[in-house]
Symmetry: C2
Subunit: 323 residues, 2 copies
């Protein structure tokens, strides 16, 4: 029986070793892949000076541009435009608003030059007056029919295969993986579990104001259309502290909107990992950084070396882009 047990254990360990010897297959061998693997091994190997208990293994991931495509504009902007068009017939008064009329008539083109305040107004008009569950159902339904203008695929198919492998690799090593997105938290929750394997309680994002109502004695929550919290830049750090209450061990981002989250993570002391996905591949995806209005990467690119952040060169580090 002892022998049989040993065989079972050996078989299991051998299998695990094989499974673990080839993580991140869509990553070319290079500095970025090596840095990620070296970090995970350092914090998870018992006896390592950098070993961290499983309960402390938190990794945070930006979504737009870090886990899925964000060009030519954030996916949620496509959603807003489609919702505006769909709801326009029932809201004839929207034509009195020049911005709303432009979006209804010209789609995304009507958004050009819109300020943050304008965008909030669009979100308010199209994302409010329903329960969070109803909103998630609308997003889920929309994702089935909407197509990315260049790739002509569903948006949830335009997720980065190498990053899905990172999520799996971290989770296989005991990490809790969180999304920390500037997008709306309920928008991201509508697909995060199915697409990324990330449950709703591990999605942090910008928040709509919720109003509690008792309707005939039934407890109800309604999105009132206003934005309560923008989960971007320093907001990401505030949300991480308020919701997670631990400093992450690792953070992945791609733009200046992730600068503070990367700092908060890698300046915490002990072994940490900060990673920036640099969009350098205009053939397979897009190439943009300092001058892009979407996913602008300027300050974080300047500081990456000094802060010890790992830059991922999408063109040379990834042998596959999409799932």
């Amino acid at each position: 029986m002892k022998t049989l047990f040993a065989v079972i254990v050996w078989t299991f360990c051998a299998f695990s070793a094989v499974a673990q010897s080839t993580p991140l297959p869509s990553w070319n061998d290079g500095a970025a892949k090596r840095a990620i693997i070296a970090f995970v091994e350092a914090v998870t190997t018992p006896g390592s000076p950098d070993f961290v208990a499983t309960s402390e293994r938190i990794a945070t991931f930006d979504n737009d541009g870090a886990l899925w495509v964000e060009q030519p504009i954030y996916t949620q902007a496509f959603f807003i435009v489609d919702r505006m068009k769909a709801l326009a017939p029932a809201n004839p008064q929207w034509r009195d608003n020049p911005l709303f009329a432009a979006v209804i008539d010209k789609g995304l083109a009507g958004l050009s030059g819109a300020s943050e305040h304008d965008l909030a107004a669009l979100v308010g008009a199209t994302h409010g007056g329903m329960t969070p569950a109803e909103f998630r159902a609308i997003v889920a339904e929309w994702l089935k029919s909407a197509r990315h203008p260049r790739f002509q695929k569903q948006f949830d198919q335009l997720v980065y295969q190498p990053m899905l492998e990172v999520l799996d690799y971290f989770r296989a090593n005991g990490f809790k993986t969180y999304i920390v997105s500037g997008g709306g938290v309920e928008f991201v929750r509508a697909f995060a579990e199915r697409v990324y394997g990330i449950p709703p309680e591990q999605v942090i994002g910008s928040r709509a104001k919720l109003k509690f109502e008792s309707r005939d004695g039934r407890a109800t929550l309604v999105r009132d259309g206003s934005i309560e919290f923008i989960d971007d830049k320093a907001g990401k750090v505030v949300a991480i502290e308020q919701i997670i209450g631990r400093r992450p061990l690792a953070a992945f981002g791609n733009s200046d909107g992730d600068f503070e989250m990367l700092q908060w993570t890698t300046q915490a002391g002990g072994r940490r990992l900060g990673v920036i996905v640099h969009h350098t591949d205009d053939v397979r995806e897009y190439a943009y950084d300092r001058s892009s209005s979407v996913g602008r990467l300027n300050r974080a690119l300047d500081q990456a070396h000094a802060e010890g952040w790992t830059l991922v060169n999408m063109k040379s580090d990834w042998n596959a882009i999409f799932r």
Copy 2:
């Protein structure tokens, strides 16, 4: 080998059966204990019409009065008074404020008649100007020396043994256990993992406003002393949706502050559990409900039957009170 395997499986199952046949030992056999066990078995037994996948098993617990003592006043109020006295010498201007002077001179007695606005001012004066990590360290240190005036024990020893067993029992059955407290989230995090086995990311509470600062290039968060969010009554439902993003399967509370959370949980459809700990034991703990200013239980007591909530009679249902 097949036989050996069968023996191993049998041994394992037998062991599990023994382990599971005696949950909740500090609960007397009665309607409350039976309702809790029947619920857990219904949602976790494969093939049961009420079976729920592990990922959906969320249970939320109020803290003050549901997991630990809240009389004669909330533990955090003792903390506020002690902080005010400790910081008074360095803040002579506090004597110009009649409420502050009363608390410094008379302790808890100085708090009588204080409004919610007054309490916010006390929290602002004593809980701000430090990082969340510094604040948690102060709370943890205070818990070691402070004593409950009646029981003369540390506050974190005055946690309810029967509820610790409920937490363990739910977790052993695949539930994620969350605290949803009116107390400050960082105050509760200072002991929740050690005392309840609940990690920081599963503690939801009232929130101080956090300010992000870059000090010589170092990312820093500072509590500015103001209260951003009160996690009580309907606020508990809003926070559950924003942070967890799922409706709980089970909720435990003890006061009208938990009314909306209980409704939100048990009105969600499918098999649910709502439990109210009714403080009925003035010998071993306290007896209070409708007329108490702390942990008032009136509306929820009236509605418990109609809503199908389980009432725990502390005096008769619990054969032990404290850990």
